[in-house]
Subunit: 443 residues, 2 copies
């Protein structure tokens, strides 16, 4: 589509935010009282609470409980405009974004595009594995897991059977650890009732981590506890191992181990999702934009980047940039809003300062790890206390009362019944997969 | 796939039920204590509570709240087996079903396949309209409605704009009436906040009914009240009108009226969904199986049909068969289970007797109609009382505590806030539709 996109001109500076993740959404909200027009562009019409995607994938939560339509959150904010669109490129000299719905002029551009899975150039892996960055991927994974078991009922051959029952998770960060834990809970409490005809001793869950510890970046206490919990749950953890190749069936590890699995979950790292058109010098090798201490993209006056896509080396505590999690994004969104207001008021802007509140990951019922920073001190929690802290933090961080209540009630129900009830296959690529399995089964 | 499907042989008679709607599911449950193996086949792994599909389509409920996985409901019933499969044909002489997962022997076959939309041979209508018989269709409709408004923001041409904002619903039965009411509530309370840039005076909702009254089959009181409520809500009701043609854009009515709409919802009737292989004499013109007073398909000893797909003329009160709603299906499922147990015990079977409890439909907040039969007397309710009765009956009829609570809380929330929060576009055919709109927009 050519030409300018149709949008009101408020006669005020226009701030265009690309991406409504934690950073972009927080910025849009915090600009509510600023004398600017806020235009948010996103490929989805909703914000995704990514930390709980893995629970959607493992039938613990409905997708509706972790997404919030942007218009529902901000529809009544007078200076807020949303457009369902993808950015094709930016012309920074002309201050114009080219998008799938036409061209859009901006006064300030804020890139909050986040990350995409990093396959390190392995196209076969990209094709055959499932990542967990979007609601649609979480639904695909849920459908895949459930379809695997339905199909397994029809197979007599042991290797074929195991290829459907076994799961390989690559990446020992929070997502990998949490998925492995959730799958092992399904194996222990849910699937044996659903599939009495299958022998769940045959179901193996492999977690492959390239380094020597899980949850790299958290404390040694957290790493050790996470490993202990996963092993208690019967997850096979492969440390210091990488996946050399995966053809959709055979998994070859760097330590020589060979596994068979039709389902490989890729949680082994991310890379920035930059847009086309900015000077290549501003983009680092991590595909993140080099930003100054105020989140300004290197070489530009009115282009900013926040969250996962921004790499700020000015913060001495984080020379390689802040961790790519929700907290820095939220804080940068909030801080940039204040700086933009200062700019517009002719006041001096202030540098961003990150308040690290710690990190946490949950493995299963009553089993989590947390490194908390409170009053300048570090606390390392494990077990039920960490698990309660994790739950509390995530419920509070969710957007909106409805989703908080829905998640809380689902969790309460799961806790009481040990059940995860959302085991439906809706809108899947099932049909395709069925043919695949049949082909392989006939070989 | 060739060969026999892999399934335990319990050495007991095998009852194969095709379809897990209201009738099939009730039958499977009621056979829990019978000396038979129960095999349920369905194309989905979940039961759908069809009466609330329209609320999923209009962002009032999550799909997860109205579906229940069969294995969750019945996984612990010892004689229950589920298979995700489609039936290709039946060989009644050999007592074998051919399915997408192989052949399956049966001792008793129960067809509970329900209905599909009836387009009366209009292939163009089938292609261009959206029906509302499955969760996937409800999600498609929700995505379509929301995508329409996102796209409308980009259009300047008035006709193009109206083609996206206007909705045509064909069929004045409960589904048509309920969808029209729900859309008018979205127009009154939700969309104007979401899309401040659009003028909702431009949004028209048309309900086209072929006969002289809405809710045919209900009382004159209910028909009149439904019409009154819809007109209060600003729905344009076209009585005694049929759609002559629809090309995806132009709607031509039999009364000469021409409408423009990219979205036409087809709720104008259903036809049975029979399977291949039974004698054609057993299938009536309605595509329903002719069954005797015990739901036995005409001409067969051990093949039964229940629910929408069965047409029983033995019941003098319903010479054209029972209404194609949940109640007859539930009662026939229950009754057939008792008869099968009697058969196996060598006892005489008993004829089915339908207890008509009435019918109801809701139009919106505090506005519903209900014809109830209690203690042999008829009661015609309207307004808030009917609305509360409708809500109570539907919550009680839902499968499982979790879904009842979820629906109740969603309704309470919607009632208090006048909001319908599930306005997300997930897993849609959006991309395709966008191209379509762009093509038409460029013409």
């Amino acid at each position: 589509m050519e030409g300018l996109t149709k949008i009101d001109d408020l006669g005020q500076p226009r701030v265009v935010i690309v991406g409504g993740g934690f950073g972009g959404l927080e910025l849009a909200k915090a600009l509510a009282d600023a004398p600017v027009q806020v235009v948010l562009l996103d490929r989805q019409n909703y914000h995704t609470f990514q930390p709980l995607l893995y629970q959607v994938a493992t039938a613990g939560l409905e997708e509706g409980s972790i997404v919030s339509p942007f218009r529902k959150i901000l529809g009544e904010q007078a200076n807020f405009y949303f457009r369902l669109a993808e950015v094709k490129s930016v012309d920074a000299a002309a201050q114009i974004l080219e998008t799938t719905i036409g061209c859009l002029r901006y006064d300030y551009l804020v890139l909050a595009t986040g990350t995409v899975p990093n396959y390190f150039g392995d196209a076969q892996m990209a094709k055959n594995s499932i990542a967990l960055k979007s609601v649609e991927e979480a639904i695909e994974l849920r459908n895949t897991i459930l379809t695997n078991f339905e199909q397994a009922l029809q197979l007599g051959d042991v290797e074929q059977l195991n290829s459907l029952l076994d799961f390989v998770i690559v990446g020992g960060g929070p997502t990998g650890v949490e998925i492995a834990g959730a799958l092992s809970e399904l194996r222990a409490h849910v699937f044996p009732k659903d599939y009495r005809e299958l022998n769940f001793k045959e179901m193996d869950i492999h977690l492959v981590q390239s380094g020597p510890v899980l949850l790299k970046g958290m404390s040694a206490h957290a790493s050790a506890k996470a490993l202990e919990y996963l092993q208690e749950f019967g997850v096979q953890v492969w440390l210091d191992a990488k996946v050399k190749s995966y053809d959709g069936y055979h998994v070859v590890l760097s330590n020589g181990q060979q596994l068979i699995a039709r389902t490989l979950i890729w949680a082994a790292g991310v890379t920035g999702a930059p847009i086309t058109g900015l000077a290549s010098v501003s983009l680092l090798k991590t595909n993140r934009y080099a930003v100054d201490g105020e989140n300004r993209v290197q070489g530009y006056e009115n282009v900013f980047a926040i969250g996962d896509i921004a790499q700020m080396s000015a913060d001495a505590a984080f020379p390689d940039g802040h961790p790519q999690v929700a907290q820095p994004a939220l804080q940068q969104g909030q801080h940039l809003a204040q700086n933009l207001k200062r700019l517009l008021a002719g006041q001096p802007t202030t540098p961003f300062k990150y308040y690290d509140q710690g990190a946490m990951a949950t493995i299963g019922r009553n089993k989590a790890v947390a490194d908390l920073k409170l009053f300048g001190r570090q606390f390392h929690l494990g077990g039920r206390l960490a698990w309660l802290a994790w739950g509390l933090v995530h419920v509070v961080a969710l957007v909106g009362f409805r989703n908080r209540l829905a998640v809380l009630l689902n969790w309460a129900g799961s806790y009481l019944t040990q059940d995860k009830g959302l085991r439906y296959i809706i809108g899947s690529k099932k049909a395709v997969r069925e043919e695949e399995v049949q082909e392989k089964a006939l070989v």
